[in-house]
């Protein structure tokens, strides 16, 4: 009897909690300020999104080596740059080669038994039913929406034709798979808008576009079958259905992949691909160090934010991280194991927070020396979403590279910048905190002195003074701009579009929610995913395009309006003259 009462009580509490959560959800959705929403964009699927999708659809064995072209970084994110990227002939060739590898892996004898859901009547001839069965199964997962029947039949016809020609059903199927993967519907994320029936006059993403936006945001991969099903049934456009799917995605192990991708992008970690250190100056810093430095920070982020659901701001003061054998010598600590192991820097250690990890210190340094300016600039741009102007083209480096042996520390060198009014404007916003990080050399090794002169690590960040890097981490943690920047980057990353002035009120609302939730990032991702601004669409602004003059005729072509005449047609117009 007591047990029943207790079960009942738990049930009541659970129902009350669910009710309260739902009520809070409704209240929150009501509190969200009106916004224009974001444009429905046309973007490139990134290499990692492509590979993750292949892995989730066909299994972990299907993970081809790919080398997709780089995309530009826009407003702090590569993800925002995917809308500006195009596809060249060379890129198309890379896509084709990658698609070929995927297709070959699917149809090889060891894989076909479990990846192809049927056995052809004969392996040396076409089998339309079997081909259709396979293509109908994987097509929507790759297109991220239902495949139009006529397109499916065209793919089946292609498989049949190739099978008859090659006298091999599986080779024929692989040709169809290759064609499927080369489709613009796979390689490009084309968001579609539709009228919002609940808000006349407004536009929203159609259900499949919303599913894709959610999935790329939270998983960095295409939607799974369940999400597509929710989109197809219309549930995704209901508050209840959307919440259910978002919560399911947040509870999925794939969230870790999504969060890693978000922070890898936000922290500009693609720069590790070209990071080089002078081996004579930093002999311990190897290619493996660079790989592990990136991994260390991403592991720390996932563990802190997702596994332990800790305060985002504490990432900049936490001493908990992970250690590998190639990083331990730079941190001057024993490697706890042969692989990755949890590690905590002891109290009093100069290491606390992301700013003192090798990934930040080494990435924002020169190959042969540290850089207070680069580190200060990165701190402002990466973590505070501020923009530090580029140096003037005629910057005078003679002072900073002065071989005078009496000038021993970076503080003395950059002091020259502060005396020059042309330089001081920017250096005053980068150097006061960058000089604090001079306690670490260009590879991230801690040091007391530079050229035998003691390093003064005092500094200040927006008026908050400190004496060392740990103090800098605390100042950054308490900087109001820090969580705001996280919100801004996460929203832009999720919507695939740089934030602009139209998003200001929504971002303020999300920042308030973030603070109320204790700066727990998965909760922020949930707020963003459930916000109206996330799915609301506004027409893209018309862009005035000024084509280049025709060099042969020296005539200036008339202005073209992007919306009226696609950019792609401009060269034809020029040529026709």
């Amino acid at each position: 009897m007591r047990r029943r009462v207790r079960v009942f009580a738990v049930g009541v509490v659970a129902v009350a909690a669910i009710g309260a959560t739902a009520a809070v959800g409704v209240m929150n959705s009501n509190r969200e300020p009106e916004s224009k929403g974001t444009p429905a964009s046309l973007r490139l699927l990134t290499e990692q999104q492509y590979l993750n999708t292949m892995m989730y659809v066909f299994g972990p064995n299907v993970r081809p080596t790919a080398n997709f072209a780089a995309v530009p970084r826009v407003d702090g994110l590569l993800n925002s740059g995917t809308a500006l990227a195009g596809i060249t002939d060379t890129q198309l060739e890379i896509y084709q080669k990658t698609a070929g590898k995927v297709a070959a892996e699917i149809v090889r004898e060891e894989s076909r038994g479990y990846l192809v859901p049927c056995t052809p009547a004969a392996t040396d001839a076409a089998d339309p039913e079997c081909a259709r069965s396979f293509l109908a199964q994987v097509g929507p997962l790759l297109y991220r929406r239902p495949v139009p029947p006529e397109r499916l039949e065209a793919l089946v016809a292609g498989a049949n034709q190739a099978a008859d020609s090659l006298k091999d059903f599986y080779q024929g199927l692989s040709v169809a798979i290759e064609g499927l993967l080369l489709s613009p519907s796979v390689l490009l994320v084309a968001e579609h808008a539709e009228p919002d029936p609940d808000r006349p006059g407004e536009q929203r993403l159609d259900a499949y576009s919303l599913a894709t936006r959610l999935s790329l945001f939270l998983w960095n991969a295409a939607p799974d079958a369940e999400l597509l099903k929710a989109a197809g049934s219309g549930e995704l456009h209901t508050r209840k259905g959307l919440e259910r799917e978002v919560d399911r995605m947040l509870a999925s192990p794939r969230l870790e992949t999504g969060v890693r991708a978000l922070f890898d992008d936000m922290f500009a970690f693609e720069q590790f691909a070209t990071l080089a250190k002078d081996n004579l100056i930093y002999p311990i810093f190897s290619g493996e160090t660079a790989v592990d430095a990136r991994e260390q920070t991403l592991r720390t982020v996932v563990d802190h934010l997702v596994t332990r659901r800790q305060d985002y701001r504490d990432l900049f003061t936490s001493r908990q991280t992970f250690m590998s054998p190639s990083l331990a010598p730079i941190y001057q600590v024993p490697a706890p194991g042969p692989g990755w192991e949890p590690f905590e820097f002891p109290a009093g250690s100069p290491r606390a927070g992301l700013l003192t990890q090798i990934s930040f210190l080494a990435l924002h340094s020169h190959p042969g020396r540290s850089s207070a300016t680069m580190r200060g600039k990165a701190l402002r741009e990466v973590f505070l979403c501020q923009v530090v102007p580029k140096p003037p083209p005629n910057v005078d480096f003679s002072a900073i590279q002065n071989p005078d042996p009496n000038i021993k520390t970076a503080r003395e060198r950059v002091n020259f910048h502060l005396q020059d009014p042309g330089c001081a404007g920017c250096h005053r916003i980068t150097d006061p905190m960058g000089l604090t990080m001079e306690a670490f050399d260009g590879s991230g090794v801690f040091r007391h002195a530079e050229n035998d002169a003691p390093i003064d690590t005092s500094g200040n960040l927006d008026g908050v003074e400190f004496t060392d890097a740990a103090g800098l981490g605390e100042a950054l943690r308490d900087n109001a701009q820090l969580p705001w920047c996280m919100v801004r980057r996460a929203f832009a990353y999720g919507t695939g579009t740089p934030s602009d002035e139209n998003d200001r009120r929504v971002l303020e609302y999300l920042a308030d929610e973030f603070a109320e939730d204790g700066y727990v990032v998965p909760d922020l991702l949930r707020e963003i995913a459930l916000s109206r601004a996330f799915s609301k669409v506004h027409p893209r602004r018309e862009r005035v395009v000024h084509p280049l003059p025709d060099l042969k005729s020296a005539q200036r072509p008339s202005q073209l309006t992007a919306a009226a005449e696609p950019v792609a047609t401009a060269p034809q117009t020029l040529t026709s003259r």
Binding site: N279, P283, S286, P329, P346, G348, P350, R447, A449, T457
Partner: protein, 367 residues
């Protein structure tokens, strides 16, 4: 809060010590190290480990061997074979020629073989006084220490394979660096000063990890080595030592040195081993001396090196065996009275590492 700027660099590493039982952190730059050592530097927690990365038999060479090999080099198996079985149009059986010689390689005896064997001679040699006595066969070290025991120098000092021009030294060191089977460390504990300390503990372990190296192949301090508690127990030993003016000398201890060569895990068995190493926070260099078990040493030689090494390096196994037996100077057999071990010296180089003592044996299947 601790002001880390007021702490010496090495103390920062010590802050991490509660996490693991381990050794010291070296200063980042050698130029600063000298000053730190001069100031009677002590490793954090009184512990510092060194991993072996370079070794070779202690052979003191002069140009052309004019001091130690006045009679020239020893001849090898090719030359001996040609003398034993000259090509005079005479038909010989395989069993009487190649196989007969090969049987001498694997089943040697001490009967004279008719070949003059050139032992290394002279006053000087590398090494340590192992027995505390000054005997007629003992050498003097270059720094004036007397009673140096290194009879193996007499055995192989005039065999070209074992000299710098031979290939054994290069390959042995390569195996030491590349084969984790061969990874061994010495760990000093209870160290109050790396410059002078009359009483330190010295432990020897086989460990499991790769050496830390830069991109040009130089081995660097700061790596970590986990003790092999599962298969490495036979490669563990401990003794006492003392540091005088930065030089460690230890009391004798028996230890075994793993020497995986091509694919055969050879073992060098040393008895009464002593170390004499010059220590810095980053590295240790010097000699390891001990009485090497003759039969084991000879077996290791034959299994480590292929016929072509012996031929091109003019190292005749039967002749070397006879010299080993003739010059053996330690650990007499209680029954026969014949010495079973020969004083030998290894010229060694080590680099600082953190030695990790696992709390418990870790099984691969449990990870």
């Amino acid at each position: 809060m601790i002001d880390v700027r007021s702490l010496p660099k090495v103390a920062l590493a010590a802050l991490a010590l509660p996490l693991l039982t381990t050794a010291a952190s070296p200063p980042a730059k050698e130029t600063k190290t000298a000053a730190a050592v001069a100031a009677d530097w002590a490793p954090p927690g009184g512990r510092i480990g060194y991993v072996l990365w370079d070794e070779y038999w202690g052979i003191r060479e002069t140009e052309g061997g004019k001091e130690e090999c006045p009679k020239g080099w020893n001849i090898g198996p090719r030359e001996q074979f040609a003398i034993l079985y000259p090509d005079q149009g005479k038909k010989r059986k395989l069993v009487d020629t190649q196989l007969a010689y090969e049987s001498q390689v694997w089943f040697p005896d001490t009967e004279p073989d008719g070949f003059e064997y050139h032992e290394a001679t002279g006053k000087y040699a590398l090494g340590i006084d192992l027995d505390g006595k000054s005997s007629p066969e003992d050498f003097v070290s270059d720094d004036g220490r007397t009673g140096i025991d290194n009879q193996l120098f007499r055995v192989v000092g005039c065999v070209r394979n074992y000299r710098k021009e031979g290939e054994l030294g290069i390959i042995t060191t390569k195996w030491r660096q590349q084969n984790r089977f061969n990874r061994v460390v010495f760990e000093l504990s209870n160290v109050d000063s790396l410059k002078n300390d009359p009483d330190v503990d010295v432990a020897y372990f086989r460990t499991l990890d790769h050496l830390l190296a830069d991109s040009t192949g130089h081995f660097l301090p700061g790596g970590s080595q986990r003790i092999d508690t599962r298969f490495g127990k036979r490669f563990q030993a401990s003794t006492k030592g003392r540091i005088v003016d930065g030089v460690l000398e230890t009391d004798p201890v028996d230890l075994e040195l793993p020497e995986l060569a091509l694919s055969d895990p050879s073992i060098i068995k040393f008895k009464g081993t002593k170390l004499r190493l010059t220590l810095t926070p980053e590295k240790a260099e010097g000699v390891l001396g001990g009485y090497a078990d003759i039969e084991q040493w000879f077996y290791a030689m034959n299994t480590s090196w292929a016929t072509h090494h012996a031929s091109y390096g003019q190292a005749s196994a039967p002749s070397i065996y006879r010299a080993l037996r003739r010059l053996a100077d330690g650990y007499p057999d209680p029954k026969t009275g014949e010495n079973t071990a020969i004083s030998a010296v290894m010229d060694i180089k080590l680099v600082q590492v953190y030695v990790l003592h696992p709390d418990a044996e870790s099984l691969m299947s449990a990870r």
